[in-house]
C-alpha cells in the first residue's frame, strides 16, 4: 500500500530537482547576460545603443540600430518566404495528397531540419550568393540572400507543426462542411484552417524564433556590414551575427557592448513572442 505512494513522492522530488536545475540554468544565463550588458548601456545611454547608427567599438561608438533593423528585416523576409511555402506544403500534405505521397514527403521535410546551419550557409555562399550577384547585381551578400536561406531553414519547423495542427482538426468538421456542399478548398480555407489557427500561429512563432536566432548561416551570406541596408541587395548585419563575429577578439568595453547586444536581442525576442501570443489569443477568441 505504501509503496506506490513512496514511489510517487520519490519520482516527484527527482523530477522537481531536474526541472528546477533546468530552469535555474535559464535564470543564470539571463542574469549573466544582463549583469554583463546593462552597466555599459547605463554608461553610454540606452538611446545611443538603440538609435545610434555608428558601430565603431574601438572608438567607443556603440550604435546598434543597423543591427536591430537588420535582424527584424531578415526575419520578416524569412517569414515572407517561409510562411506561404510552409503553409502551402502543410495543406497539400494533409488535405490534398495521397497517403503514400505524404508518408514519403513528411520524413524528407523533417530531415531538412537536421541539416546543420553551417551547411545551409555554405550552400548559400557557393550558389545563392553568386546567383544573386550575377542576376541582380550588388555584392550578392545581402538582405535578400539571408532572407531566402532563413526562409528555407524555417520551413521544416513551420511545416511539421502546421501538419500536426491541421491533422488535429476533427474529421467531423470536414464532413459537416462537405455535407453543406462546400468544395474541398472552401472546406480547407473556411473550416480547417480557422480551426487549426492556434497551432499554425505557434508554428510561425517558432519559425520566427529560429530565424531571428540563427547566426552561422546568416554570417556566411549576409555580408555583415554594420550599416542600415539601403536596398534588398545591400549587405546587412543581424544582432546575433554582431555577437558571433566580434566575440573572439573583443575585450573590455567592446565585450560588454556585445553582451548589451545580447540584452537587446533578448528583449526583442520577448516582445515578439508576447505580441505573437497576444494576437493568437485574440484571434482564437473571435
Amino acid at each position: 500500500m505504501a509503496r506506490p505512494k513512496a514511489n510517487d513522492r520519490l519520482i516527484r522530488i527527482s523530477l522537481l530537482v531536474v526541472a528546477l536545475s533546468a530552469i535555474s540554468i535559464l535564470a543564470i544565463i539571463t542574469i549573466f547576460i544582463f549583469e554583463q550588458g546593462l552597466p555599459i548601456m547605463a554608461k553610454y545611454g540606452l538611446k545611443n545603443f538603440l538609435l545610434g547608427q555608428d558601430w565603431f567599438p574601438s572608438e567607443k561608438s556603440f550604435g546598434l540600430l543597423p543591427m536591430i533593423v537588420g535582424s527584424l528585416l531578415v526575419t520578416l523576409g524569412a517569414l515572407l518566404i517561409g510562411v506561404p511555402l510552409g503553409l502551402a506544403s502543410a495543406i497539400f500534405l494533409t488535405e490534398f495528397s495521397t497517403r503514400r505521397v505524404s508518408r514519403i514527403l513528411k520524413p524528407v521535410i523533417e530531415l531538412l531540419s537536421g541539416i546543420p546551419s553551417v551547411v545551409y550557409g555554405f550552400l548559400g555562399l557557393m550558389f545563392l550568393v553568386p546567383f544573386i550577384r550575377e542576376t541582380f547585381g550588388g555584392p550578392g551578400l545581402s538582405v535578400l540572400s539571408a532572407s531566402i536561406i532563413l526562409g528555407i531553414m524555417i520551413l521544416p519547423t513551420i511545416i511539421s507543426i502546421s501538419i500536426d495542427s491541421i491533422r488535429a482538426v476533427p474529421d467531423s468538421y470536414r464532413e459537416g462542411s462537405m455535407a453543406l456542399g462546400a468544395t474541398k478548398w472552401q472546406t480547407v480555407r473556411m473550416v480547417v484552417l480557422p480551426a487549426a489557427r492556434s497551432g499554425l500561429v505557434a508554428g510561425i512563432i517558432l519559425g520566427m524564433g529560429r530565424a531571428i536566432g540563427e547566426t552561422m548561416a546568416v554570417i556566411m551570406v549576409a555580408g555583415n556590414a554594420a550599416d542600415l541596408p539601403g536596398s534588398l541587395l545591400a549587405p546587412v548585419r543581424t544582432l546575433t551575427s554582431n555577437i558571433a563575429l566580434e566575440m573572439a577578439y573583443a575585450s573590455g568595453e567592446h565585450r560588454q557592448a556585445l553582451f548589451a547586444t545580447g540584452v537587446i536581442l533578448f528583449v526583442i525576442i520577448m516582445i515578439l513572442n508576447f505580441l505573437a501570443n497576444l494576437t493568437a489569443r485574440k484571434q482564437s477568441r473571435k
Binding site: R12, D54, W55, P66, L141, P235, A250, S251
Partner: protein, 312 residues
C-alpha cells in the same frame, strides 16, 4: 489556478516531512527500479563535481598558449617540434583571438598569449616578444586590371570615397570592399598602417577570417580586401603598393610598408621551461623555416624600425 498551486504546495510539504533515507523507505524501494534512479542521480552528481579532479596527472609539465588565430597554426607546429625534443613537456595551443590571448595571460589562464596586433596603451603592462613578422596584402580578383595603387587610393577605397573601379582606370563597376571584423588583429594592423585616423566604411562587407575574405574576393570580380601575405594564393591577386609588389624581400628592405609583428606575450621575464620554449622559437632552427611558410624571421628586420605607424 491559485488554489491549485496551493494544493500542490501542501502535498509537497507533507511529502517532505518524511525522511527519504528512513529504513522503511529503503526497504520499500530497494528492490524496485526506482532505486537505480537515485543511485544514478547520486553518481551523476558525484561525477559532475569531480570532473575537474578526473584529469590525468602524470607529473608532466604543461605550457598553455592561447590567442591570435593568425599565429595559432604556426605555434602548433613549433610546439610539436619542441615536444618531440623534450617528451616531458606538454604544450597546449588554443585559439580565441588576440584580445582573448592578452586577457588569458593577464588572468593567468595561459602562460603565453599570442597577439597579431600591437598592444594598446592599457595592455602595455605585458612583456612582448616578437617571434616573426607577417606582411599584409591588398588583394583583388585575378581578372582585375588594376595592378598598383597608392596608399592614398587604398585609404580612399576602404573609407568608401572611391566607390567605382572606373576612377582607377578599370571597368565601370561598383567596388565591393571586404574587411575583417572590429577587434581582429588583421583589421587592427590595417587600420593603423593604412587608414590612420580615417574610418573604414560602414558599407564594407565584414567577414571573420582571412580565409573567408580570400574566398569572397576570389569569387567576386569587383571586390577588394586585405589578408595575411602568407595566405595569398593564385585565386586572388596581391596588388603592388606605391609600385612595390609585396614579397618577403620588399618587406625586409622596408620598401613594402604593410607588415605586422607576431607577438608572444608573457606576464614577467620567462624562466625555466617557458624560457626554453621561447628561445627555441627564436632559434635559427625555427626562424630559418619561416620564409617557407610566408612569414619573415625576426632577425631580418632591425628592431628599431618596429611597427610603422601612419597617423595624420
Amino acid at each position: 489556478m491559485n488554489s491549485e498551486s496551493k494544493k500542490y504546495g501542501d502535498t509537497f510539504h507533507q511529502a517532505n516531512r518524511q525522511s527519504f533515507f528512513s529504513k522503511k523507505f529503503l526497504k520499500d524501494n530497494i528492490l524496485t527500479g526506482h532505486f537505480y534512479l537515485v543511485v544514478y542521480l547520486i553518481l551523476g552528481a558525484f561525477c559532475f563535481f569531480n570532473f575537474s579532479a578526473c584529469r590525468p596527472n602524470s607529473g608532466r609539465e604543461e605550457i598553455i598558449v592561447a590567442g591570435s588565430t593568425s599565429i595559432q597554426p604556426f605555434t602548433d607546429e613549433w610546439a610539436e617540434l619542441f615536444m618531440e625534443k623534450d617528451a616531458k613537456v606538454v604544450i597546449n595551443v588554443q585559439g580565441g583571438g588576440s584580445s582573448a590571448g592578452i586577457m588569458a595571460v593577464k588572468e593567468k589562464t595561459a602562460d603565453i598569449g599570442l597577439s597579431s596586433r600591437e598592444l594598446k596603451q592599457d595592455e602595455k603592462d605585458l612583456m612582448e616578444i616578437t617571434v616573426a613578422y607577417d606582411g599584409l596584402a591588398i588583394i583583388v580578383h585575378p581578372s582585375n586590371s588594376v595592378n598598383n595603387l597608392s596608399i592614398e587610393q587604398v585609404r580612399s577605397i576602404f573609407a568608401g570615397e572611391i566607390t567605382n573601379w572606373k576612377i582607377l582606370n578599370s571597368t565601370d563597376k561598383t567596388i565591393t570592399v571586404v574587411v575583417r571584423e572590429e577587434g581582429s588583429g588583421t583589421r587592427g594592423a590595417f587600420q593603423e598602417m593604412v587608414m590612420g585616423q580615417r574610418r573604414i566604411s560602414k558599407k564594407a562587407i565584414v567577414e571573420d577570417s582571412n580565409g573567408v575574405v580570400r574566398e569572397i574576393v576570389s569569387r567576386d570580380e569587383n571586390s577588394i580586401g586585405f589578408i595575411s601575405l602568407g595566405l595569398v594564393n593564385d585565386r586572388v591577386k596581391a596588388i603592388a603598393l606605391e609600385g612595390v609588389r609585396p614579397s618577403e624581400e620588399a618587406i625586409v628592405k622596408g620598401e613594402y610598408g604593410l607588415r605586422r609583428p607576431f607577438l608572444f606575450l608573457v606576464l614577467e621575464e620567462p624562466r625555466g621551461l617557458l624560457k626554453e620554449f621561447i628561445d627555441f622559437v627564436l632559434s635559427d632552427e625555427i626562424q630559418s623555416r619561416l620564409p617557407q611558410e610566408g612569414l619573415i624571421p625576426v632577425k631580418k628586420i632591425p628592431a628599431d624600425t618596429g611597427f610603422e605607424r601612419r597617423e595624420e
